[in-house]
């Protein structure tokens, strides 16, 4: 590459071997006497052309039309399955992009090799190229498989979801019926139907409150606990730390179901409170129209589950803290509170900004808390397919999994994604770690 850039007078494409490689992958390499590499590249292009002829073109057309013949399952007539056509269409687009990348790399390689030949250097054999790959481009080897995984299981579903938002998939229109592209209809429905926009407003408000509140609670709860367990006068620290370890280790579906049973109407906590006469006979925490009692219980459970992990993190960070600073501060006569406020907090805050952001994102999308705490799907008045404690992600679940309104659910997840992206971007830019990044490096 670099050698090429140093000689800009002549166009890099002027070499005939480069032109050949532009015309057909691997041809140029063949004429540079790199036979194995050239053959492999040519095979790749032939394979790609064959793929396009036999499936690719069809898949792309399928992506555009989403099927043309409807199946009649009761007659055993298989029609087009719009959903799988969508999936294969996306895959084909991915493959084409990948091929374009490969083509680009192939041309670059031809330019490089022909340049080397022009300078009179010996061309690398296939074995040497492989060795170079293993050594200089080690990253290429280690990243290929993970990248493939991420493409198939993370990026592709996101694109799929995004595209679904622009179709009418869901409700009555599921395979074998044909799905069609409907543009922004789902968004229109969400923003114009009073049921949706009203529900979304209420849920979004609560969701933001929840995310901020629970992040705050978990973060400072964890920090507080870490400081508490770090206190000099506390003996058997390792023993005491076992208790939060329980909360950290028990799978959350167990914890939350346990809490549901503890606090539900026929559960022991209410029973005991009623026996003691502390609450009235009619008192409930988890019921159909409970709003704040269940929300507060949600905060409690969230803290129970989340505080220990922040605590362990903070413990680790505190043990890294510079002891000299504290000694100096002590000499200056700073009391414990001042030490905390001016030394510990800024240090820990700086060190854990990414944690705060990821905690915030996780809490914003904390599906399981209210899924397990309100196991019955009852919808509250004033909400459409949701209840007062539901977060956006629970609502999305209700729409897609419970009520099969896929396109609306997908549109909602796009909106949710936009919100999250903006929120975390702002949080990231405002964070001390971001601001001080340059000074600390």
């Amino acid at each position: 590459m670099e050698t090429v850039q140093q000689a800009p007078k002549k166009s890099v494409f002027s070499d005939w071997r480069v032109k050949l490689s532009c015309a057909f992958m691997g041809l140029g390499q063949l004429f540079c006497r790199q036979f194995t590499k050239g053959a492999l590249l040519m095979l790749l292009e032939i394979g790609f052309i064959l793929f396009l002829v036999f499936a690719g073109v069809e898949n792309i057309i399928g992506l555009l039309t989403l099927g043309t013949t409807e199946g009649v399952p009761i007659m055993g007539i298989e029609g087009d399955n719009s959903v799988s056509m969508l999936a294969w269409g996306i895959t084909t687009v991915f493959l084409i992009l990948f091929f374009a990348l490969a083509y680009y790399a192939n041309i670059k390689d031809a330019i490089y090799t022909s340049g080397e030949i022009g300078k009179g250097n010996r061309v690398k054999t296939f074995f040497e190229s492989c060795q170079a790959l293993l050594n200089k481009k080690f990253y290429f080897l280690t990243l290929t498989l993970p990248l493939l995984f991420v493409c198939v299981f993370n990026i592709m579903p996101i694109i799929f979801t995004a595209l679904i938002a622009f179709t009418n998939y869901g409700g009555e229109i599921v395979p074998p019926k044909l799905i069609s592209w409907t543009g922004f209809q789902s968004f229109r429905v969400i923003f114009t139907m009073s049921e949706y926009i009203g529900t979304m407003g209420k849920i979004l408000g609560w969701n933001i409150l929840w995310a901020i509140g629970s992040t705050f609670l978990v973060y400072f709860g964890g920090l507080g606990l870490a400081l508490l367990y770090n206190a000099k006068c506390l003996k058997w620290k390792r023993f005491w730390r076992i208790f939060p370890m329980f909360a950290y280790a028990i799978p959350s579906f167990i914890t939350l179901t346990g809490f549901y049973f503890l606090f539900c109407d026929s559960g022991p906590i209410l029973g005991v409170l009623k026996d003691w006469g502390w609450v009235s006979e009619n008192f409930t925490i988890i019921s159909f129209d409970s709003v704040w009692s269940l929300r507060l219980l949600g905060f409690f459970c969230c803290a129970w589950i989340g505080v220990p992990s922040v605590m362990f993190l903070a413990t680790g960070i505190l043990s890294n803290a510079n002891k000299d600073m504290y000694e100096a501060a002590k000499l200056d006569g700073a009391n414990a509170f001042k030490q905390f406020w001016y030394l510990t907090l800024p240090f820990v805050l700086f060190a854990t900004t990414p944690v705060v952001i990821s905690t915030f994102i996780n809490q914003f999308n904390n599906f399981s808390i209210f899924y397990f705490l309100r196991p019955e799907t009852v919808y509250a008045p004033g909400y459409f397919n949701a209840n007062s404690s539901d977060l956006l992600i629970n609502w999305m679940y209700n729409l897609t999994v419970e009520n099969r309104l896929y396109s609306l659910g997908s549109a909602l997840s796009l909106i949710l994604f936009a919100f999250m992206a903006i929120f975390s971007l702002i949080a990231y830019v405002m964070s001390p770690a971001y601001k001080k990044e340059d000074t600390y490096r």
Partner: protein, 281 residues
């Protein structure tokens, strides 16, 4: 001297307060666990039969039912499935995460920054926000009812969390690598003989988190496993009736206890690993 005498009672009060707080916190954390364990030994299955907080009568009956009434709950099957998924994805994820994190930390290449940013953005979009899409893709890949489908999802999902491990690798000084490179060691050798031994706490941490996620997850298996014989413990236990609360509690014990033991045994690594990765961005 007099000053010191003054501080003593204050210090004692502080110690007392610390212990009081610690006891309170320990109670909050321990009580639900104890309650759950005791309910597992409830002679009657139902939540309603509790007397106050605790069962009236204790027995091992729920455990017997858990393992013998196969028509109702095929617990052994569920447990084997869970163990298989968690163990295999633990191995694959650990391998992938360490490889990716090391690569990103150690090498400078063109798309490096872009990849890190893309990871941050993709992380905002949690896996099950696209449940429908995942389900469709898995049907196309013939991976419904297939534990390998889950393993693939967990492996690729945990690879997305490589930033913590990358932060750890960043702390290894570059001079070590330079010296080794001068000695003529290949990159792969350097990774094996220098990086790996240095990052033992990080690897333990990675393996543990990679094991726990599939072990405790409910959403993905409940979506992808239609056939009961492929169910994991989380799906199976959640399918139980409310009147089977003791069975639920008993079944949870076998899921929770191994993890608790692992965590306590490896707590040193957990604290080190988690914080090492978090300190840097």
């Amino acid at each position: 001297m007099t000053k010191k005498m003054h501080i003593r009672p204050e210090k004692a009060a502080k110690t007392a307060l610390v212990y009081l707080l610690v006891l309170f916190v320990s109670f909050i954390f321990a009580f639900p666990c104890i309650w759950l364990v005791l309910s597992a030994f409830n002679a009657e299955g139902d939540l309603l039969t509790l007397d106050g907080f605790f069962p009236q009568e204790y027995s091992f009956d729920t455990f017997r039912r858990l393992f013998t009434e196969v028509n109702k709950y095929d617990y052994r099957r569920w447990f084997t499935n869970t163990l298989f998924v968690a163990a295999v994805s633990c191995v694959i994820s650990t391998f992938l995460v360490i490889a990716v994190a090391y690569t990103i930390s150690r090498y400078r290449f063109k798309s490096r920054k872009a990849m890190m940013k893309a990871t941050l953005i993709l992380g905002i979009f949690p896996n099950f926000m696209n449940m429908t899409a995942l389900f469709v893709i898995m049907t196309q890949l013939q991976l419904i009812n297939n534990l390998w489908g889950l393993i693939l999802l967990y492996s690729s999902g945990s690879t997305m969390g490589f930033l913590v491990q990358k932060g750890f690798f960043d702390t290894i000084p570059g001079s070590i690598y330079d010296a080794a490179t001068l000695d003529g060691a290949s990159d792969f050798r350097i990774f094996l003989s220098i990086t790996l031994p240095l990052s033992k706490p990080m690897i333990v941490y990675t393996a543990l988190t990679a094991f726990v996620w599939p072990w405790a997850d409910f959403m993905l298996p409940s979506m992808l496993l239609v056939d009961k014989s492929s169910w994991t413990v989380a799906v199976g236990l959640n399918s139980l009736d409310d009147s089977e609360f003791s069975v639920f509690a008993a079944g949870s014990m076998f899921v929770a206890i191994p993890i608790i033991v692992l965590y306590i045994a490896l707590s040193k690594y957990l604290i080190q690993g988690g914080s090492a990765g978090a300190v840097k961005d």
